[in-house]
């Protein structure tokens, strides 16, 4: 069986600078990929290319054999790739229920959980009818994930989802992501600096430096990789 | 041909002086200051009534510039200051101010055009086959002098450097302890002075009327987008480019569509760079 998501030699330049410089990897359904690396190493830009936020300068991303990159964010969503952002973004004064309904409406027949179930999964059951802006910042981050899940994704891209969460909250989030991956078969890419959160969650880890892949492997392999320790983990 | 170019440069100087005032305000406050048209109109009328009352032209002109500066600062203190956190509200407030200022002029001075006389009305400069009336030459000189003065202010004084810092990054400037309110007022003060200069420089060629600045303002907005919102030298260069383009288009294609040539320029820029030229000239003054 071929992989669900195939990333082939993706390059993204801004002006003359290559933010992502030839990244390739594959990801299967239900798998969680951790993406780590120092600030400015190109993680968020890579997520952007996967999610259609940016067009790749070269290379391509295929989902189930079909090209998914370079066609804009909404087409990426309709192909089944959804993302969250580093900064919390919800629709201002909208209630979570309204926002989920909109995202759900764009699902176009792809399978997925009902909105209530998504909210419950992320512990947001009580927050459904409250305006997004009135939630705590941790809840807002979860709400953003709920929104992404409501589009019925096959690939979920999370950009620093655990920022500002304490240990318990992060563990609950990790459990929720695991369930989504396991029960819905969603492939997940998680960018985070919080190793206590990320390492137990990820099936494989990809380390980026200066736009390129420095190393990849299981969390255990990465933890012992000297190059990674020297360039990144050691400083952390 | 050279005559057309000279006319283009004259228009360009006019656009530049008005556009620099707009872009300065945009740079520090992100406000599309339509009220600038009203500032120009009130300056011109002040000069006109002072000189009609018998004041020598130079004094009347100073009075006009002072009035422009005062009105401009008032628009900031009374209106723009209160929407600093809501950029979406800026266009409505700007339009409201423009309506108020223009109609105050209409109320005070009536709708018919007035003629502003200058001591250099009948001067005519000739150089080869090119001629330039004294009024237009004076505008070019005033534009160059005031823009140079502005350049010195921005680059050589601490006030100017502070203003550039604010335009660069508002939050960072506030953290550095730059008094923001003073900077806002200062930007409007400078814009008002430049508006006053524009008014006294071009009112003598045209007419003093409540709507005298409408077309110039539109062209100046093209210039501001052309040069990058917030960029002073962009506005100067953009002004000259637009002046020459409009001058050429008007002379060789159709004078009726003079301003349309500027708009075409603007549209092509917005199509190529939806964020204006700002994406390269990120908010900066000077």
């Amino acid at each position: 069986m071929s992989a669900l998501l195939v990333v082939e030699d993706v390059v993204k330049r801004f002006g003359g600078v290559a933010a992502v410089d030839g990244v390739s990897f594959t990801l299967d359904a239900g798998q969680v990929l951790g993406l780590i690396g120092p600030n400015g190493s190109g993680k968020t830009t890579l997520l952007g290319v996967l999610a259609g936020t940016h067009d790749p300068t070269s290379g391509k991303v295929t989902l189930d054999g079909r090209t998914a990159s370079g066609r804009g964010a909404h087409r990426a969503v309709s192909a089944g790739i959804a993302r969250t952002f580093q900064t919390t973004r919800l629709f201002g004064t909208w209630t979570l229920r309204e926002a989920l309904r909109l995202a759900h409406g764009e699902r176009r027949g792809r399978p997925g959980w009902p909105d209530e179930q998504i909210a419950n999964l992320l512990g947001l059951g009580d927050a459904l009818d409250r305006p997004g802006a009135s939630l705590t910042s941790a809840a807002q981050r979860l709400a953003m994930i709920a929104l992404a899940l409501a589009t019925g994704p096959r690939v979920l891209l999370l950009d620093e989802p655990a920022v500002g969460m304490d240990g318990t909250e992060a563990a609950a989030l990790a459990a929720a992501v695991r369930r989504a991956a396991g029960e819905l078969g969603v492939a997940v890419v998680v960018v985070d600096h919080n190793m206590q959160f990320l390492m137990p969650l990820a099936d494989t880890v990809l380390v980026m430096a200066a736009g390129a892949v420095l190393a990849s492997g299981t969390p255990a392999q990465i933890r012992s990789d000297e190059a990674v320790i020297a360039s990144y983990l050691g400083e952390a | 041909m050279s005559q057309v170019l000279v006319n283009g440069v004259f228009l360009g100087c006019l656009f530049a002086v008005v556009a620099v005032g707009l872009t300065l305000v945009y740079g520090v406050m992100e406000v599309p200051n339509f009220a600038h048209a009203g500032v120009i109109v009130l300056s011109a009328y002040t000069t006109w009534s002072a000189s009609a009352a018998g004041l020598p032209f130079a004094l009347a002109a100073l009075a006009g510039i002072a009035c422009g500066a005062l009105v401009s600062v008032l628009t900031e203190v009374l209106a723009y200051r209160w929407i600093i956190d809501r950029p979406a509200a800026a266009p409505a407030v700007a339009l409201g101010l423009m309506l108020i200022l223009q109609n105050v002029a209409l109320r005070l001075y009536g709708g018919e055009g007035r003629s502003l006389d200058t001591p250099y009305d009948r001067v005519l400069l000739r150089l080869g086959g090119v001629s330039l009336s004294g009024v237009k030459a004076a505008l070019v000189v005033l534009a160059v002098v005031s823009l140079l003065a502005l350049h010195l202010l921005l680059s050589r004084t601490s006030l100017g450097r502070a203003m550039r810092a604010v335009a660069q990054d508002r939050e960072a400037a506030a953290i550095l302890g730059i008094p923001m309110r003073r900077q806002y007022a200062l930007a409007f003060l400078i814009a008002g002075v430049l508006g006053g200069v524009a008014a006294i420089a071009y009112a003598p060629t045209f007419q003093v009327s409540p709507y005298m600045a409408d077309e110039v303002l539109l062209s100046a907005f093209v210039v501001v987008v052309l040069g990058g919102l917030g960029s002073v030298w962009g506005a100067v260069a953009g002004g000259l480019v637009l002046g020459v383009v409009e001058g050429l288009g008007s002379a060789y294609l159709s004078p009726a569509y003079q301003s349309a040539f500027g708009f075409l320029l603007l549209v092509s820029i917005l199509v190529l760079r939806p964020g204006g030229l700002r994406s390269t000239n990120a908010r900066r003054v000077a």
Partner: protein, 413 residues
């Protein structure tokens, strides 16, 4: 709930607003007869409207001193003035509807915007008497309800070229036109035609958009052709700023136009230098009250100048005569309220008593021939240092050619 209360709110607001300013409408047969006047009291043509209003006021007062008799009763006239703000299509049409629908006036005097009134006239006909618009092609073809109390451009433009050629020695002329301004565009057509007839070469034909404030391209094109004279095609408020920039550009030759510029306007629009700017200026249009040979016109000119401290333009005498024309038509029609009958009567009346314009009567002594009443034409020249104009040539035009020209002595004041 909310939409319903909001709907009520809108309704209430609109109703209060619209009923707040109810206007009384005249009863159909009162002793005070109300007629309408739509004038350009403000805006770009504000050089015209206020003078017309002054003159109308004088005419009404003179008429009402004796009054006029309709249906056996003594009547006086009252004019309801409306300002079209020099924008007939927007404000003027609204004013017309207000006058016709709400105030129910049976006849209306007006100045500009004839074509824009035509659809409304189709819906609700009322005779409209134009006291100003001589543009070419003429306004009378637009609607049967329009009347014109002045000679149209073709009755005076040939005189411009006739005079320029013979008295100024002009063999070539540059024309500068306000594009989009119908009066000016018509003048340019006529000047071109007359120049051809007189054997005067058109050195250059340049134009500027009406809304523009910088005329340098049009002016340099006109001057570069080195003409003997420059003709400026449009109305006073439009051509005077052009004239100023023309003189600033260094042109010193003669300037001809048909705008009816008077000294007050020259001073107001041109500023302190007006006298030197106006030097060598020639204006060909209808006869002026001040330079007219007609004693009634001269007396009116004197009264007007005394009362308003303003030089009377040609259009003031036509405006002055409007109340007398209306009174005569109502008397003849024997109604003060039926627009159709009054319209018919206008076509049949003779030159009324009390008028001062020196009307040239048509067949059978009728005032209007083909809904047009006219006076003689005249070329006037600016008198430097004296704030006044002198008559340079009085003439009439038949078949596009100048006839019966007379040349008064070339003296000012």
């Amino acid at each position: 709930m909310r939409s319903r209360s909001a709907a009520a709110l809108v309704a209430a607001a609109v109703l209060t607003a619209t009923t707040a300013c109810g206007s009384p409408s005249g009863s159909p047969d009162s002793d005070v007869v109300k007629v309408g006047a739509i004038l350009s009291l403000s805006g770009i043509y504000a050089t015209l409207g206020p003078a017309q209003k002054n003159a109308l006021q004088m005419g009404v007062e003179e008429l009402n001193r004796t009054g006029f008799t309709v249906g056996g009763r003594k009547r006086t006239l009252e004019i309801s003035y409306a300002d079209d703000r020099s924008d007939a299509a927007t404000t003027g049409v609204t004013a017309l509807r207000e006058l016709v629908q709400s105030q129910k006036v049976p006849v209306i005097a007006y100045g500009l915007g004839s074509d824009t009134y035509v659809p409304q006239l189709q819906r609700q006909p009322v005779p409209m008497v134009n006291m100003l618009d001589s543009s070419y092609p003429g306004i009378l073809g637009l609607s049967d309800h329009l009347f014109l109390t002045r000679g149209a451009s073709p009755t005076y433009v040939p005189g411009c070229l006739y005079y320029a050629k013979r008295k100024l020695g002009t063999t070539s002329i540059s024309v500068i036109t306000a594009k989009g301004e119908p009066y000016g565009e018509g003048l340019t057509q006529l000047v071109t035609k007359s120049a051809q007839a007189e054997g005067v070469r058109i050195a250059a034909n340049s134009e500027f958009p009406l809304s523009s404030t910088d005329y340098s391209n049009a002016i340099s094109a006109a001057v570069a052709a080195k003409p003997d004279a420059v003709y400026l095609s449009s109305v006073t408020a439009v051509i005077l700023p052009v004239l100023k920039q023309l003189r600033q550009s260094g042109y010193t030759g003669p300037v001809i136009h048909s705008a009816g510029v008077n000294p007050n306007q020259a001073k107001a629009i041109l500023g302190a230098q007006y006298d030197s700017i106006m030097k060598d200026n020639y204006d060909c249009a209808g006869t002026l009250p001040t330079t007219s040979q007609d004693p009634a016109a001269q007396a009116f000119a004197k009264d007007y100048q005394q009362r308003y401290d303003e030089y009377p333009q040609d259009l003031t005498m036509w405006a002055h005569d409007f109340p007398f024309i209306v009174a005569a038509a109502m008397t003849k029609a024997d109604t003060v309220s039926d627009p159709a009958k009054i319209e018919q009567a206008l076509k049949e009346i003779d030159v009324p008593q009390g008028t001062v314009s020196g009307w040239l009567p048509g067949d059978g002594g009728r005032l209007f021939t083909d809904r047009n009443a006219r006076t003689a034409s005249e070329v006037t020249a600016w008198c430097p240092g004296q704030d006044t104009l002198r008559s340079a040539m009085v003439f009439d035009v038949k078949d596009d050619a100048v006839v019966d020209p007379t040349f008064p002595q070339e003296t000012c004041g």
